[in-house]
């Protein structure tokens, strides 16, 4: 019996659900890393968090009409991003407040849809699934949609990269150079909405922020260069998702009973540990310097 037997519980490599989870998780970690670096640099963590939460409304509505959760997340997140843009998310002053009001109303609506889900019987168990995710339950038919949306979001960031970077670091200078700052911000918000929706199907709506903010915030502590930070964030994200999937698979044999621990818990905990570790590295470097 090799060490591999203990690390990878029997059947890990042959399991269809694991394959799908690994594929989806990788695609999502790449998008989240690329988009997340700008989210952290622009100080829009709250917008990212809110879009994630608002996805609950979409997921619960989709369960009500019998559609897949991804469609619900994407539709509602894109709408919410447009609403935030309209109420003035581009201004720093009062921005959190505008975001918060949209968020509060959307959660109220989610409460209503989830109530209908549970009373009409069709979406039993949807509260926990939508909020906390279940990556092992994703069907392989969703993979093309996930990869397509991921490619779209990454392409948007690649195309927007230079004007977005300038508009992030110095909006005044960007405006002076003739960059349409507001349009760039709005397009970025759209990419953020796609990234959050993807993160939501991986680890759940109210946990999606972890993949978006965590790896990016950790990477930005290690390097100040945006491109390197994107690579680093992607690597940290992929690492957390893969290790999380592995641990969740193994945890079936852990106490207290024959019942796996939630994947989302492992992914979020690993991301959080990554962030703390990056703080340690930064601290040591500052002392050394």
């Amino acid at each position: 019996m090799s060490l591999g037997f203990f690390v990878f519980a029997p059947g890990f490599w042959d399991n269809e659900a694991v394959h799908v989870a690994l594929a989806v998780g990788t695609a999502v970690a790449i998008v989240a890393g690329v988009v997340g670096v700008f989210t952290v640099m622009r100080g829009q963590s709250f917008a990212g968090e809110s879009l994630g939460d608002i996805g609950t409304t979409g997921g619960s509505a989709a369960a009500l009409v019998g559609a897949g959760p991804l469609a619900g997340f994407v539709a509602v997140d894109v709408l919410a991003a447009a609403a935030m843009e309209l109420v003035g998310v581009q201004r720093v002053r009062g921005r959190d407040l505008a975001t918060g009001i949209v968020l509060g109303a959307a959660i109220g609506l989610a409460a209503f849809f989830l109530y209908l889900d549970s009373t009409q019987g069709s979406g039993n168990g949807s509260t926990v699934t939508i909020l906390f995710g279940s990556i092992f339950a994703i069907s392989s038919a969703t993979i093309p949609a996930v990869v397509g949306l991921a490619a779209l979001a990454v392409t948007m960031i690649v195309v927007l990269y230079r004007p977005l970077l300038l508009a992030t670091v110095s909006p005044e200078m960007a405006a002076a150079r003739g960059i349409p700052v507001r349009l760039v911000g709005a397009l970025y918000l759209l990419a953020l909405a796609l990234a959050t929706a993807l993160a939501a199907i991986t680890i759940g709506t109210i946990l999606s922020t972890a993949l978006l903010i965590g790896p990016a915030a950790a990477a930005l502590r290690l390097t100040r260069r945006p491109l390197r930070a994107m690579l680093g964030a992607t690597a940290i994200g992929i690492g957390a998702v893969w290790l999380g999937i592995l641990l969740a698979y193994d945890s079936y044999h852990w106490p207290p009973h024959e019942h796996g621990w939630p994947v989302s818990f492992f992914v979020v905990a690993l991301v959080f540990l990554g962030y703390l570790a990056s703080g340690l590295v930064e601290w040591r470097r500052e002392r050394g310097a």
Partner: protein, 289 residues
């Protein structure tokens, strides 16, 4: 409304609902006023949300929910306060929040808790408030209001004019920690009633509406309490009549109150100044500020 239903609405278990939600609204109005003034919207979202872990953990080990909520809320407040000194404040808040939520998800999964229990924690269950919840809520509510009263002057100074406060020896960090502490306390008492996701709505919508109606702090605070009471009580009445979840009415009601106040403010300003109507600016040009 049928006369019979109208009478029943103020009898039996409904009496508890009216009383407890009244206390909750007063606390949310008072604490929420400073939340909006300080721009701590994200913290007000994160601390109650994160305290979900405490409630789920309490269910797992079998201690009272309110105790679990209190402990988790204080851990969250301390974590946000301490980790936020280094690193980016909004990213830290987001990470702390998802870490606690994920822990909550783990507890729910390990404890095999029922879906309705999770739903009640997240979205509240004001109609199911029992007699023995009334006294803890009242006592904690009084402590919250007393704490705000004691901190009133330094809190006001450091929120409105941080530099002046600092010069007078009011440490911004100490005040921030103290305020987060009050927020945690308010969370512990209000969550069992309106749920982790919706107390935030109440704490933002009514105070923000009040602030756009008046500039005087004392009046704004009183108005914020009144508006919160209106939102909560009409939500309970509507929920009783329709059997729909109370969270739906609290969430959408808070947003509606805010939008109405903003419209009122905009109308008044336009009337007072009689400004020359601005022409529509071409999309995406200028408007950096």
């Amino acid at each position: 409304m049928a006369a019979g239903a109208g009478r029943l609405m103020f009898e039996g278990f409904m009496v508890n609902a009216w009383e407890v939600s009244g206390i909750v609204a007063v606390v949310a109005g008072v604490v929420g006023f400073f939340t909006v003034l300080r721009g701590s919207v994200f913290a007000a979202h994160a601390i109650p949300n994160g305290s979900f872990a405490g409630a789920a953990g309490a269910g797992l080990v079998g201690v009272s929910t309110i105790f679990g909520l209190g402990v988790a809320a204080f851990v969250g407040a301390l974590g946000i306060g301490l980790l936020g000194r280094r690193g980016r404040h909004d990213a830290v808040t987001a990470l702390m929040l998802v870490m606690m939520l994920a822990t909550g998800a783990l507890f729910v999964s390990l404890g095999n808790q029922y879906e309705p229990a999770v739903y009640a924690l997240l979205f509240g269950e004001v109609l199911g408030v029992s007699d023995n919840q009334l006294w803890p809520t009242l006592v904690l509510g009084l402590v919250c209001v007393a704490a705000i009263a004691a901190l009133y002057r330094p809190l006001m100074l450091s929120s409105a004019l941080p530099e002046v406060g600092e010069a007078r020896g009011i440490g911004a960090f100490r005040i921030e920690l103290a305020f987060l502490g009050v927020l945690a306390l308010a969370t512990a008492m209000t969550v069992p009633v309106v749920g982790t996701l919706l107390i935030f709505s109440l704490m933002i919508g009514a105070p923000a509406a009040a602030r756009s109606l008046t500039d005087r702090p004392g009046v704004a605070m009183a108005l914020s309490v009144v508006l919160a009471l209106v939102v909560v009580w009409s939500a309970i009445a509507a929920s009783y009549e329709t059997d729909w979840p109370v969270g739906f009415f609290v969430g959408t009601g808070s947003a509606a109150v805010f939008v109405a106040a903003r419209l009122w403010q905009a109308g008044r300003e336009r009337f007072a100044r009689r400004r020359r109507p601005r022409g529509r600016q071409p999309e995406g040009l200028g408007s950096v500020a």
